[in-house]
Amino acid sequence: MYVAVKGGEKAIDAAHAWLAEERRGPTDVAELSVAQIKGQLKLAVNRVMAEGSLYDPDLAALAIKQARGDLIEAVFLIRAYRTTLPRFGGSVPVDTGEMACDRRVSATFKDAPGGQVLGPTFDYTHRLLDFKLAADGEVPDAPEGTSDGVTKPHIMSFLDREDLVQKEPEGPEVPPDLTRAPLELPATRALRLQSLTRGDEGFILGMAYSTQRGYARNHAFVAELRIGTCAVEMEIPELGFAIEIGEVEVTECETVNQFQGSKTEPPQFTRGYGLVFGMSERKAISMALVDRALRWEELGEDNLGAPAQDEEFVLYHADNIQATGFLEHIKLPHYVDFQSELELIRKLRRDAEARDAHREAAE
């Protein structure tokens, strides 16, 4: 029986008013502006854009403010907003070879053409708390060097030239889109990559780590990690040609794995690929490892039964908005459901007690 119950409106209004007050925090402390979040908590903004699957730093910063710093709640706000936007079309695939790199490192070739460019990295910091930041600290200008003004070649192209690395198969120019059609399995690699790039960073990291620890062993080298800005081009029907409609900061990771060969493939290197909005290298490396693990079937490898090889397990649990929606719904009223469970337990208990009484009487 469905029982409609009303009530709680006043309590909800009061809860939301208190939420707003708590969000603001102590009023003797200056309010945080969206511009401050965008400029100074940029990596949080990046994560919300990547998992919200919408590149708009202003909106992501607003969502972080509204969500009181709860990044999954902020991602939820962005996903909800995204659904209200008309889709103008799809871009020409971004050419990451033309990236204006802030950072570009290779763990496989020391003397890679274009060099090892560290960029604004946390690497090599000592991870000691910097108490100067707790005071108002003046920041010295970052030093400037001389740029050669040349784009950096992809490291993988060198292996490719020697034919030592597996070729990336081609696919349709208009890829399938999991925001438009429900994800069905088996998924194409395009769908897997879309799912991974918007998946929860913690989940993808955990899956990637599991492959390193031996669940579907695939020892990966980071052939290249690059972070920077790429122009986004789109064909404009009313113009009849493609124009740049903006630019996005992305992190790209290409991993290379040794591969002994299989029934169908000669011994060669294989590849994993990660591409994520913003400066998100932990996510991009994780994505590349999980991408590679999920390719076992196409490469004729054995299914070791590892979680990271299980497409259904990975893809159906990577999305933190789907997960949090289902997880958190159990805190909402289930009074009637629970009432029936309570009735059932009471009846089972009565029946059990009656049986016991009957047995005792018989003895």
């Binding site: 990547a50 919408l54 590149y55 708009d56 909106l59 995204r82 936007l85 889709r87 103008f88 799809g90 871009s91 695939p93 971004v94 204006a100 790199c101 802030d102 950072r103 060099g115 090892q116 460019v117 560290l118 960029g119 604004p120 990295t121 400037e144 060097g145 740029s147 993988m156 990336e168 198969p169 081609e170 696919g171 208009v174 890829p175 889109d177 999991l178 925001t179 194409t188 690699r189 395009a190 990559l193 879309q194 790039t197 800005t229 122009a231 986004v232 789109m234 404009i236 113009l239 040609f241 493609a242 124009i243 409609i245 903006g246 630019e247 996005v248 992305v250 690929y273 591409l275 909005f277």
Partner: protein, 152 residues
């Protein structure tokens, strides 16, 4: 109106500059230029999304990376030129100014002035910003050197 390859590549370049310009900078330059062309709106400024794509392994099959916000707008000047603005983000004023600028750039009388007052300053700023970042990146380039060789 047939467009030659040269004018198409020039138009492509200025539309890209307008799309990537910061909205506040576009507004400042537009107001500073003081243009007041008569026009009709063919498509009112509209905020939407474009699905940004990448390629597996940077070279293989295309996949959907995620969307970005874009605002578009189309106008026709009374003199006949049709301008289109496609700009990054959610700036209705930005899209309208970009469409008007695109239309004015097609008018032989205005193009030179618009280039000087709007397109060139925006392109220079973008170039300067890019150069500064490239210079900072260059300063973080590792210079490897050998400390000692084992055979000595």
């Amino acid at each position: 109106m047939a467009m030659t390859d040269t004018t198409q590549s020039a138009r492509k370049a200025w539309l890209g500059t307008l799309a990537k310009a910061p909205a506040a900078e576009m507004a400042r330059l537009w107001q500073g230029a003081g243009y007041a062309p008569e026009y009709e709106v063919l498509r009112a400024p509209e905020i939407g999304a474009v699905m940004v794509r990448g390629r597996a392994g940077a070279a293989g099959a295309a996949f959907n990376l995620g969307e970005m916000t874009v605002t578009r707008c189309s106008v026709r000047l009374v003199t006949g030129e049709v301008g289109h603005g496609y700009v990054q983000g959610r700036g209705k004023g930005h899209a309208l100014q970009a469409a008007l600028t695109d239309a004015l750039m097609q008018s032989p009388d205005a193009a030179e002035d618009v280039t000087t007052r709007i397109i060139a300053p925006l392109a220079q700023q973008a170039h300067a910003e890019r150069s500064t970042r490239a210079a900072k990146a260059a300063a973080t380039k590792v210079d490897f050197f050998t400390i000692a060789r084992g055979e000595d």
